[in-house]
């Protein structure tokens, strides 16, 4: 009658455990030894059958015999296998003595596979595991959008330029950039007609300027060795001083060593304005990171 059972389940009628794919038939029965849907490995179509299953890390050997076919509750007999691999194999052998070779062999194979994957589980839990955090699409989209808008609102280039100019005005760069000669000269010419005290102050400034001229040339040499002089052409250099400086700087530029690459050339030869303009720093950390 088992033949009949198999001919029904295997080929013609429906078996609820059977899963077909293009190349193979699988059996979803939990007591199935190999996982495939075969005549020899169907637990329903074989009255004498055995499997190895694991529960909570321990392996058990399940056996089914004809004698208990009438008692479904007692049908599957369970034997705990030892934790020792070789001992467990011996136990399988001793329990399945006189059983068909196929079942014995397959049980041992299945047991081996199970122990291997249990070892792997234990090893992996010791290592760090990646925590997968699911993305939420709506939130991702919202954050991207907000980031774009924040970028537009930030106007980064303007902010950076403003900050740099403020630092220039606040004299953090010291003597490196000596900027508005231009403005200074204009103011000079305007105020020439005015009171003497003003001109005295200007004379003092003149002296300082002379000293700064010398310093300037020396410092400039380190700064401007590379030859990107396009900016210089664009600049309107009206005063003679500037032209002299340019020539001297060019000479010095050829002599100086190259410290680092400065691909953008800076024709920086203007004075600090003698008009003190106070600017308030907005953010405190920036004052801390200024050079002393």
């Amino acid at each position: 009658s088992l033949q009949v059972v198999w001919s029904m389940l295997g080929n013609r009628q429906f078996c609820s455990y059977k899963m077909t794919t293009k190349t193979q038939n699988f059996c979803r029965n939990e007591y199935n030894l190999t996982g495939l849907c075969n005549r020899s490995s169907c637990p329903l179509a074989n009255s004498q059958y055995a499997t190895v299953r694991e529960e909570k890390g321990r392996c058990y050997l399940y056996m089914k015999t004809i004698e208990r076919a009438a008692f479904p509750r007692r049908l599957w007999e369970r034997v705990l296998l030892s934790k020792n691999y070789e001992k467990a194999l011996e136990e399988i052998d001793e329990n399945l003595i006189y059983w068909p070779r196929f079942i014995r062999h397959k049980c041992k194979q299945r047991f081996t596979k199970i122990t291997q994957y249990l070892i792997r589980i234990r090893k992996l839990t010791l290592k760090r595991q990646r925590k997968l955090v699911p993305l939420r699409r709506k939130i991702e989209r919202r954050e991207n959008r907000r980031e774009e808008k924040a970028l537009i609102a930030a106007q980064l280039d303007n902010a950076i330029e403003k900050e740099l100019l403020e630092r220039l005005k606040q004299d953090t760069y010291g003597d490196i950039y000596n900027f508005p000669i231009h403005a200074f000269d204009k103011a000079l010419q305007q105020q020439d007609a005015e009171s003497e005290s003003d001109s005295d102050a200007e004379r003092e400034e003149d002296d300082d300027d002379d000293e700064d001229v010398d310093k300037r040339e020396f410092v400039e040499a380190e700064d401007s060795e590379l030859s990107d002089f396009e900016d210089m052409d664009k600049l309107e250099t009206s005063s003679e001083e500037e032209q002299e400086e340019e020539e001297e700087v060019e000479k010095q530029a050829s002599h100086s060593k190259s410290k680092g690459k400065t691909p953008l050339k800076g024709p920086a030869r203007r004075k600090r304005p003698y008009i003190e303009i106070e600017y308030e720093e907005e953010t405190e950390p920036s004052t801390k990171t200024k050079a002393a």
């Binding site: 924040a150 930030a154 980064l156 740099l164 900016d231 400065t262 050339k265 950390p285 990171t289």
Partner: protein
């Protein structure tokens, strides 16, 4: 056929005087999509005309008043309307100054320690992340890149401290792009976890400059107003050595806008006293703070100073925390 009739000649523009609508008719009630679309466009045009007319009128009135005109209204922006945060730092606040003199960054700001940075990634970084790490290492002076190779962070940290590193940066990667940044100040310092987005490597930035040089860059920190923002700002400042070399003319900017921190690296040149030109080199990325932890990196037992809780903190569009 005056009331309630829409002109039947297809989608051609009908003369407006022929059409009369009942007062409660709205454009969206027309069933035909083409006609509805057309009517909607016409309505839009009309609205625009009215708005323009209104603007002109206002401008005329303003000109007519001349000096007596009321001052121009300031447009409302999100920054204007920002919900006032009670932890905003007042520059003259003594308590804040005292805190900052005694917190973990005090040795840096007193110039007792020189920053030394370790940059690493999560396991098995892909090419983009590796290149990004290298570029970041050129931007930040005195930094070293080490491959992760499956090492546990908890074991790396004591070794780093032993070798005098002051900061640790871990760049997390997902699906071949970097998407997270963990910045940890080493000797017992705070750990900040950021979400990183729009990472652009150097070759993707449209510029024609060369690579950053070895000069120490300047640092700009913008808009870090609250206490939290302040501490994050100090963390960023502690990455860079104290004395920038102005010869190099490089500047690294951390700009906070609406809780997004934009990082840019530029080279600047002063064309005149009022004009400066900047050229972008170096990678760029944006960060959003996810959590700030008091000690060094410890996900299980760490004491969190601030975590971004979406349900509570994202409720208002005008409330920002940094």
């Amino acid at each position: 056929d005056g009331s309630g009739s829409v002109p039947r000649d297809g989608s051609g523009p009908p003369a407006p005087e022929r059409v009369l609508f009942p007062p409660t008719f709205s454009v969206s009630e027309i069933k035909n999509k083409q006609r509805r679309h057309f009517m909607f466009l016409r309505w839009k045009q009309q609205q625009r005309k009215e708005k323009l007319a209104l603007k002109k009128k206002r401008r005329k009135e303003r000109e007519a008043l001349g000096d007596k005109a009321p001052p121009k209204a300031i447009p409302k922006t999100i920054e204007n309307q920002r919900v006032y945060d009670e932890t905003t730092v007042d520059p003259n606040d003594e308590e804040v100054a005292f805190d900052e003199a005694t917190d973990e960054f005090a040795p840096y700001f007193n110039r007792q320690t020189v920053p030394k940075i370790l940059i690493t990634t999560s396991d098995r970084p892909r090419g983009r992340t590796v290149r990004f790490c290298e570029q970041l290492a050129t931007v930040i002076p005195n930094s070293h890149v080490y491959y992760r190779r499956g090492l546990a962070l908890k074991r790396i940290i004591p070794q780093c401290i032993a070798r005098d590193f002051t900061d640790l940066i871990v760049i997390n990667e997902d699906r071949k792009i970097p998407n997270g940044l963990v910045l940890s100040h080493l000797p017992e310092g705070p750990t900040a976890h950021f979400r990183m987005s729009s990472v652009r490597l150097r070759k993707e930035i449209k510029r024609k400059g060369k690579e950053p040089t070895e000069h120490v860059p300047e640092v700009i920190l913008n808009n870090f107003t609250t206490r939290l923002g302040h501490s994050i700002g100090r963390m960023f400042a502690a990455l860079f050595p104290h004395d920038p070399q102005f010869i190099g003319r490089q500047v690294a900017t951390f700009h906070n806008q609406r809780d997004y921190i934009f990082f840019r690296f530029h080279r600047y040149i002063f064309k005149s006293e009022k004009k400066v030109g900047i050229q972008e080199l170096g990678p760029r990325f944006t960060l959003k703070l996810r959590s700030l932890q008091k000690g060094t990196f410890d996900s299980k037992f760490g004491e969190y100073e601030w975590i971004h809780k979406r349900r509570e903190m994202d409720t208002s569009r005008r409330k920002f925390h940094l």
